[in-house]
């Protein structure tokens, strides 16, 4: 890796080239190196993003093959403010889902991180176990929990928990059941983020509080949580976006084709995908996906504005 070892002949070209020409060559190389990434972004991120706004203005024909009709903002208004495509319900379900998933998984992740923040023999094994759910895909998690919540196979009937209709077809319990699975799956990431935050904290303050006789409970709420607030804030944003994008587990566990109207699992992303792939309604799907984007953006910005003022950044 040493650079002095290779004694190559000094570049004659470089010596003779004027500084302006050298600058131009450097700039050309710069553009060349950036080109692949920027081209990929242009085609697969920015173009589709802006195209969404165009698609939202056109009404998809009821029969494929016919040209789509320009309807301006009429379609967007119809989707957003009426119940024609279930958008208001989806929005509410999404928010409920976030509330069910995010706080619990952050708390458990933080609790596990605090428990594992010790120098004990074998602590590496525990850390590995707590992080392990991060590598589980939504499909794996769905199969694991789908079986656990199965009305015939799982442990639930044995424990006497056997609601009718079964858990995942139950209007009251379907969404919480999916939330439990999502919490488990997000636990690993929550733990990893919280652990990294804890490790960056100075131990002296906690130690001083301990010597002053503060209980573990007090130390946790009065010192660890406030000092960790930047990390918790980051995990909150990550977790919320993660919950917004939860699609696979619902898609696997609750088939769209026989989705009962009163089963409130139709989160926004689920609605977008099925409007596109099952009903082939590109225009409506585009409107709802823009809403999902705005929601994501809003949450990120709101959290930044309101939490950052209260977050403790001192080190």
């Amino acid at each position: 890796m040493t650079t002095t070892g290779v004694a190559a002949a000094p570049s004659r070209r470089r010596a003779s080239a004027g500084p302006r020409r050298r600058r131009r060559r450097e700039a050309a190389l710069g553009y060349l190196l950036v080109l692949p990434a920027v081209a990929a972004f242009a085609i697969f991120v920015f173009y589709p993003f802006f195209n969404n706004f165009r698609l939202a203005l056109y009404q998809t024909p009821p029969v494929p093959g016919l040209p789509s009709r320009y309807v301006g903002l009429h379609q967007a208004g119809h989707v957003l403010f009426s119940n024609a495509y279930g958008f208001p319900g989806s929005l509410l379900t999404t928010i409920v889902f976030v509330v069910l998933v995010v706080p619990v998984s952050l708390l458990i992740g933080l609790g596990l991180a605090v428990a594992a923040h010790r120098r004990l023999r074998g602590i590496g094994v525990y850390r590995m176990i707590f992080s392990s759910t991060v590598v589980s895909s939504v499909a794996v998690a769905a199969l694991v929990f789908g079986t656990l919540m199965n009305p015939v196979v799982g442990f639930l009937p044995w424990l006497g928990i056997n609601p009718t209709p079964p858990l995942l077809q139950n209007p009251t319990w379907a969404l919480p059941a999916v939330a439990v699975m999502t919490i488990w799956q997000f636990l690993g990431l929550s733990f990893i983020i919280m652990s990294a935050g804890l490790q960056s904290l100075p131990d002296e303050i906690l130690e001083a509080a301990r010597i002053d006789g503060a209980s573990a409970w007090t130390r946790f709420w009065r010192i660890t949580v406030p000092m960790l607030s930047p990390t918790i804030f980051f995990a909150l944003v990550v977790g919320t976006i993660y919950a917004f994008q939860s699609f696979g587990q619902i898609d696997i566990l609750i088939p769209f084709r026989n989705l009962p109207a009163n089963l409130h699992v139709n989160v926004l992303i689920y609605n977008v995908v099925n409007t596109l792939t099952q009903e082939n309604n590109t225009g409506v799907a585009a409107v709802m996906s823009i809403a999902l984007f705005v929601l994501t953006l809003l949450v990120t910005l709101l959290q930044m504005r309101f939490l950052e003022s209260r977050v403790h950044y001192g080190r």
């Binding site: 290779v6 195209n51 428990a115 590598v135 794996v140 917004f244």
Partner: protein, 300 residues
């Protein structure tokens, strides 16, 4: 690593005056605390692992054992052929191959585009460098859930629907990777670059021989992260293959297995374990790199 001062601070006192009752009490309370810690940790670990453990047990049961009440807690007659059924009849072998091809393509492409762009943003001067970097970062604000509608049309009209290329092509570059590697390259001292230039190194040679090797931890972190993200993808493989073809990835394959063979839950669960194990191995080997990439941005 953060030491546990609560236990280590007590240790010197206990050794110095082991006879005094004070010290004995301290030692005893330390032992209680230690037992308490292990109890809490072990119980939590069991709760976290239990769903997976039950899955492994169920995947090894006979069909008629699965609905048995109370559910068996240990597979006394492990049915290993559930795994071979999942692999052959459940097409898991094909799905795993598809996932591997797609994942490796995405990982290599993301590493290359991120290294090139990250290098340019860190070492080269050119007009609009800052603007272009911000453009790359802006992609992080646009979730894939918003872009996949048009991407599906793009890929289909390019004739790439239900092909490996179509599976990989929307993920050739990543703003996160560019950011991560630019940061790593900026850590490299300026003197080193000047010395290399004096030795006649061009930018390509400096990148390959000095910059990338020095940024290896970040390159590895990005590689592991990209692998995890690509392997576990669900939405795009579902829509980009139609969700019912042999070109499905392992995640979509699990959906097929779970949906079509309702009476063979044990086989579907064997499939889930097969899909999970490669990533568990990845975690065991690359835990440090994975944690590094997942927490980039969490701790400043």
């Amino acid at each position: 690593m953060a030491a546990d001062r609560t236990t280590s601070a007590v240790a010197p006192e206990t050794t110095r005056a082991a006879i005094s009752s004070d010290a004995r009490r301290a030692r005893r309370s330390r032992r209680y605390r230690l037992t308490g810690s292990y109890t809490v940790l072990t119980v939590s670990a069991i709760v976290v692992v239990l769903p997976l453990y039950i899955t492994v047990v169920n995947s090894l049961l006979k069909e008629d054992q699965i609905a048995h009440q109370p559910p068996p807690l240990f597979p006394f007659h492990p049915q290993w052929h559930n795994y071979s059924i999942a692999w052959t009849q459940g097409n898991l072998g094909f799905y795993i191959r598809n996932s591997l091809i797609m994942t490796v393509c995405i990982v290599i492409a993301q590493l290359v585009t991120s290294i090139l762009a990250g290098y340019a943003f860190a070492f080269l001067r050119f007009p609009f460098r800052r603007t272009l970097f911000l453009v790359c970062l802006a992609t992080l604000m646009i979730p894939f859930e918003v872009t996949f509608i048009t991407n599906l049309t793009t890929v289909t009209s390019a004739g790439l629907f239900n092909t490996y290329a179509g599976l990989a092509v929307p993920f050739l570059a990543t703003g996160f990777g560019i950011f991560l590697l630019r940061q790593a390259f900026l850590q490299i001292p300026k003197d080193l670059q000047e010395a290399a230039l004096l030795d006649g190194y061009g930018h390509w040679r400096f990148m390959a021989r000095v910059a990338v090797p020095l940024a290896r931890p970040s390159v590895a972190a990005l590689g592991v992260f990209a692998f995890l993200a690509a392997w576990n993808q669900y939405l795009w493989p579902l829509v980009a293959t139609g969700g019912t073809t042999p070109l499905d990835t392992v995640q979509i394959g699990l959906k097929q297995l779970y949906g079509t063979q309702a009476d063979q839950i044990n086989v579907a669960l064997a499939g889930a374990i097969i899909a999970f194990v490669p990533l568990l191995i990845l975690l065991l080997i690359f835990q440090k790199q994975l944690v590094r990439s997942l927490t980039a941005g969490a701790v400043k």
